[in-house]
Symmetry: C2
Subunit: 344 residues, 2 copies
Amino acid sequence: MVLPENSKKSTMKEVAKCARVSISTVSHVINKTRHVDKETHDRVLEAIEKLNYAPNIFARGLRGKKIRVIGVIISDIRESFFAEVVKAIELTAHSEGYSVILCDSEDDPLKEQLHINTLIQNGVEGLIFAPVNNSTRVYDSIIPHKINAIQIDRKVYGLSVDFVGINNMEITKKAMNHLFNHGFMNVGFVSYQTNVYTMEQRLLGYKMAAQLHNSSKKINVKFIQYSGSDNKEIIKSWLYQNKEIDSILCGNDNICHQVLRAIRELQYEIPKDMGVLSFDDSKWFKLVTPSITAIRQPTNQIGKLATELLIAEIQNKIKNYSQKENHILSAELIIRKSCRESSE
Amino acid sequence: MVLPENSKKSTMKEVAKCARVSISTVSHVINKTRHVDKETHDRVLEAIEKLNYAPNIFARGLRGKKIRVIGVIISDIRESFFAEVVKAIELTAHSEGYSVILCDSEDDPLKEQLHINTLIQNGVEGLIFAPVNNSTRVYDSIIPHKINAIQIDRKVYGLSVDFVGINNMEITKKAMNHLFNHGFMNVGFVSYQTNVYTMEQRLLGYKMAAQLHNSSKKINVKFIQYSGSDNKEIIKSWLYQNKEIDSILCGNDNICHQVLRAIRELQYEIPKDMGVLSFDDSKWFKLVTPSITAIRQPTNQIGKLATELLIAEIQNKIKNYSQKENHILSAELIIRKSCRESSE
DNA sequence: CTATAAAATTATTGCGCAAACGTTTTTATC
DNA sequence: GATAAAAACGTTTGCGCAATAATTTTATAG
């Protein structure tokens, strides 16, 4: 294999020597921090090219220069919602010259804390995270390091950090209305148990809708364990024990997958015996039979906006940091065939 | 919000002062590079605790210390295969104290090169990547920086870098045999066009099997564009123009999704009119009707092994670097209902 | 041809740390 | 009690760079 002319990494000093200038001139050429005579300037660039020079990131970091790395903490990259959001974050970040360190919290507060610490130690300039729970304690460690942050998907009360996500209560009510309008009078709700604003809002939306449309009915909520384990059997016995449930609202596409398998094994027919509506639109929803009505979140927008906001904050382009902003994007109800024909 | 006692980041110097020792003692306590008297040792730890001290990664990096970050370059994090592999990489890396910087190449050689450069500049100690194509040129830039690397999924000829993946030719032949044994005599192959060993091996397996079982039949291969675009219409017209095709081998689950939609719109019935078998087992394959027979790759193993090998190399625990090793794991054929009952 | 401002470049410092090297203190030996 | 050996710690340097302060060179005016 043929190696480039100069195979070991060179330093500014070597570049300076090669261009017959001082290292400070080299620095100013690289950083455009001062005018340098065209001739000298070109000589420096030539030397940089010739020696295959690239700045040492550690020396830069040590001098307090920005290193353009952001950290992202989400629950699980295998969940399509997060995969899509992370994809958008990556694209946006790279287009602005930032790299992305990815961490899965697996909805474990300890892992979350660990990752926050590691990321900060690794010198990230900013953080995008989907909080595991409602405790602000974990995030206290961010503040002293004056690292900018953005919360996505989930929101923590009283945390002075911008939020990007959807209006969960509103869209939940809309989904519930859709179910009620199609003759389902007893909707059950299956979701991961996470003690965050997002989940509370969904629950609130669920309860309000349930009470409005059918005040005599029970609230039927099943909280299941996070991704790792298979909850099919748990869902089956829940359905078995709550025979009045005629339809299910699923917390995300992964939960929906488990719900569908449970329903199938119980030999219920969708939508005749059981309606299904799911958060997070999977591309497979239109291919299963019947196709699944879903709440589509604007994953690209969420990732893009969160990243843009973060980078803007990092670059101090904006605003009064004492007050956080909520950026509420709109989710969309994709109507398919898992909820019967309309009774209207 | 209550801040921790000491909110600004402290230095070794401050810790030294607080513990009434020299900074070298602090350094040695932190790095365990020299014996320190128990009493002194404890005093230092206390000071570290009290001042909430954490080493500055840039200073360490500048001194040539390892910073425990690896880079990962894959095609697209939204593909389930890569999401699962990355998940395993992350878990393994974190458990060894490494962080992971994630990059999507989108199978674009320019992006790949860019990411490699950025990662190296960011001081990663190692690289795990799924090469975009067969050119070694891109990877030449890795060598001079003496950064360890592992290839996953795809393999580049003549690149002196370990490989972790499956035996594509073998499993393709096995899948083809399965199709032939179930009465499909003219298998078409739909895949992304990427000029890599993996793809060549699959093609080779496909061709060998086709010739063996049915020498009079054409080779029917359709290469489609990468993820971004929807190829449903292209697949439809390909099927329309090649009516002899009675079954399709799909390059991955995403391609299978597009194939299934094409088949549905052509109103072919699976498996009666058209057999389907796909690389990469999606959890949705068992929920669509009929369920899809698939080649399941050991994604966890791939990610885990690649990471372990990389970290072992980084830590110089092993081996003669002049010769690369291939780590071939075995894929599994998951038989479902998209290929008729056996004719045997 | 000075005097002086302006432009162009250089010398230098210090970021925080690891480790080579140096010093002091303690313990062991005869 | 003198000397050696070992243990315990301290002093210092330099990693590569950015940016400040200092210096040299060039341009302009009188």
